[in-house]
């Protein structure tokens, strides 16, 4: 298939691995931000093909994983309300709240539906005017524009029975939180190509400068990742820092300006709790004052729901690159995809799920 096969060629992968082997002379720790990249790395076995001196740690870029438990409990509280149609992307359905998950709410008679687009949720609201339709808006800058567009459309068309439960998070503040931590291990970043497709990479330039660290905007196919790793390793070996762009077929420095315009109109930046990490200042989106009427947490008064994270799950340390999933005592024992203690074991982008799915032998 065009635009896919050329990025999965075994011969080219071998060549790129040779270049990497020639480049590396010292040990380095590199973090890929995005959970999609984590899965490609493990799925294609790249983590096992790299020189031993290269350590990959896995970043916080899994939208499902960083959604705090209390937000899932709020979603479940709304989904259990009679007459409500609660809509969500598939990934969120199996993530356990403190008592239930959304699939169990469905099994008990709740109207929980999986949608592929927030605009499908908006369509459901138009088709069911007597019912409240709520969309669970999770994700990074990648999913935010479509979600903003759905709210924008709802207001323009006067669809009053539509609202979103927003748990959006932003990448650059999370990178800063990792880098500013005294026990940070990360020496170079692969930035998430899809986030940068929307936002560009100007935001990363001051971070790379401040922490004197290389950041390479990287795509999602095996060869993208190999090339991104080669670029970041070359920069580290040569003592360079700054932002480079491996994913130039999709990403520009300025990003998608119309998408950014909708984002800045519908959302405003706010402090946001991250699962296992805690509150990171100015790291999330909430609906701006003009769109506050579409905020499901206000409409259904679930803001008061507060939940403590379970102590045994070390998701926070994994997502900050301090530990690998296999270092968790519960991994593969108390915590499995059937009995997940934390979201990274559930989500298709979660690091624990990737290790469990591809590495257990």
């Amino acid at each position: 298939m065009k635009f896919v096969d050329e990025y999965r060629s075994e011969a080219d992968a071998r060549k790129m691995l040779q270049v990497i082997r020639r480049t590396v002379t010292r040990p380095w720790v590199i973090m890929e931000i995005c959970g999609g990249q984590t899965h490609t790395l493990l799925r294609s076995g790249i983590d096992q093909m790299l020189p031993e001196m290269v350590t990959l740690v896995h970043g916080p870029g899994c939208p499902v994983c960083v959604t705090p438990l209390e937000m899932i409990d709020r979603a479940i509280a709304i989904a259990q309300r009679p007459g409500t149609i609660f809509t969500s992307f598939g990934d969120m359905m199996r993530v356990p709240g403190s008592k239930l998950d959304l699939l169990s709410v469905k099994a008990r008679g709740g109207d929980v539906r999986m949608v592929y687009s927030p605009l499908d949720a908006l369509r459901l609201a138009v088709e069911n005017p007597s019912r409240e339709v709520v969309f669970f808006a999770v994700g990074f800058e990648t999913t935010a524009p479509a979600n903003a567009m759905a709210v924008h459309e709802a207001r323009r068309r006067g669809v009053g029975n539509f609202s979103i439960l927003s748990s959006h998070v932003l990448v650059p503040p999370a990178m800063e939180a990792i880098l500013s931590s005294p026990d940070n291990l990360v020496q170079g970043f692969l930035a998430a190509g899809h986030v940068c497709t929307v936002m560009g990479y100007r935001q990363y330039e001051p971070i790379a400068e401040k922490y004197r660290i290389p950041v390479v905007v990287t795509g999602f196919e095996p060869l993208d990742l190999l090339q991104g790793l080669q670029m970041v390793l070359a920069a580290l070996e040569e003592g360079r820092h700054g932002v480079e762009n491996q994913y130039s077929r999709s990403v520009t420095r300025d990003g998608n300006l119309p998408a950014q315009k909708v984002l800045s109109e519908v959302f405003e930046v706010c402090d946001r709790p991250w699962r296992g990490i805690g509150v990171i200042p100015m790291s999330g989106y909430r609906l701006s004052a003009a769109y506050a009427g579409f905020d499901a947490s206000r409409r259904f008064e679930v803001e008061g729901i507060r939940t403590e994270e379970p102590a045994v799950c070390i998701a926070g340390e994994i997502m900050q690159g301090r530990k690998r999933p296999s270092a968790c005592e519960a991994f593969g024992k108390e915590c499995t995809p059937e009995h997940p203690l934390g979201a990274p074991m559930v989500s298709t982008e979660g690091a624990c799920s990737a290790y469990h799915q591809y590495h257990r032998s």
Binding site: R8, A13, S44, G45, G90, L103, T143, Y358
Partner: protein
């Protein structure tokens, strides 16, 4: 009455911890780990007998010197009509194929219909005609049946159960336990076609494609294969729910062997690949309805592949892997860029990803 007997009369404890799954979830029917848990912990332990313990697509029963294959399957698909087929043809093909996967020549089928009040008679007529056409094409008559009607809202239009019996020819012995290290794994054509065709017409997810279901009766293909390669054919299985990955995991577990696949050898059509890339689905876990997996002795692999390819339903057949002594009970996949990874069972249905 002794305390002992009283204990036996008391309701037995459900072997699946109630606290984990107090209600049935859709994933219990998805073919993955939760389905296996139901089968092993509830059904096999309750119905316990040697024919069931084989856990094949159908049971083999000795009767008057002959070996009968007996199989049943229920169909609850939505929508009822989809590109290239409908619930009627699917139900007939499903049970014909389950019998064929036992190495049997299907003899006859039953038709159990559960109809929902309000179903248009025209729809039922189309479904029944389609069942008849499918039965005729596969050469297996529907010889008995039953019909029930449930209140509106208590069914999904039509549910169909089709059971069937067949005869296993002498010299044929098909079982996952016959898989041997060195055996060759063949798939009879492009995978994941049925699942993607159904997704393309599902509410909320309609997308344009020319794909049609691959639903087809495989008894003719299997008969030709067994005539050519006979007892060298060790295992047959149709990778329906849960797809190729799930089916091979079941075979590896039951046969206590490892299976190693080569990703670049697995035939996946362009349209299916495109749809799976966009939706974030792995075609190895997507359902098939007209495909079978064949595990065959290496000495007969070439002949088997040639025979399958000569059949109209097997033209795109390919060797996709081999049975190994290492990694018993597990399936490994050599990826496109050369890495080796575990191809695990999924917990439930594949859920489309966020981004």
């Amino acid at each position: 009455m002794s305390d002992d007997l009283g204990g036996k009369l008391a309701a037995p404890t459900c072997p699946i911890p109630i606290s984990d799954y107090p209600t049935i979830l859709m994933a219990h029917g998805g073919g993955g780990r939760l389905t296996q848990m139901l089968i092993e912990k509830l059904f096999v332990s309750s119905f316990d007998n040697p024919a069931l313990a084989e856990l094949h697509d159908g049971a083999i029963l000795e009767a008057g010197g002959a070996r009968l294959a007996f199989s049943t399957d229920s169909f609850v698909i939505h929508p009822l009509f989809f590109p290239g087929g409908d619930i009627g043809s699917l139900a007939v093909h499903g049970t014909v194929n389950d019998l064929a996967m036992c190495g049997a020549r299907p003899l006859a089928l039953s038709s159990g219909l559960i109809l929902e009040e309000g179903l248009p008679i025209d729809d039922l007529w189309r479904i029944v005609r389609s069942m008849e056409a499918a039965a005729k094409a596969s050469g297996v008559p529907i010889v008995t049946g039953d019909t029930k009607v449930v209140d509106r809202g208590k069914g999904d239009g039509v549910f169909i159960n089709v059971s069937g019996v067949g005869l296993v020819p002498p010299g044929v012995s098909i079982s996952p336990r016959r898989a041997r290290p060195g055996d060759v794994v063949i798939v009879s054509g492009e995978i994941a076609v049925h699942g993607v065709a159904i997704l393309s017409v599902r509410e909320g997810l309609k997308f344009e494609t020319t794909l049609e279901t691959d639903s087809a009766p495989l008894n003719g293909l299997v008969e030709a294969l067994l005539a050519a390669a006979g007892e060298k054919v060790h295992v047959l299985r149709d990778p329906t729910r849960g797809g190729v990955a799930t089916t091979l995991n079941e075979i590896a577990a039951q046969g206590r062997v490892g299976i190693r696949l080569d990703e670049s050898a697995i035939p996946v059509g362009e349209e299916v690949r495109g749809a799976c890339e966009i939706l974030g689905l792995d075609p190895l876990y997507v359902a098939n309805e007209g495909k079978c997996l064949v595990i065959v002795d290496p000495s007969a692999a070439g002949l088997a592949l040639e025979t399958i390819r000569a059949h109209p339903f097997g033209r795109a057949a390919a060797v996709i892997g081999e049975v190994t002594a290492e990694h018993s009970g597990k399936v490994f996949l050599r990826g496109r860029i050369g890495g080796l990874r575990l191809l695990d069972l999924l917990t439930g249905e594949q859920l489309p990803r966020i981004c």
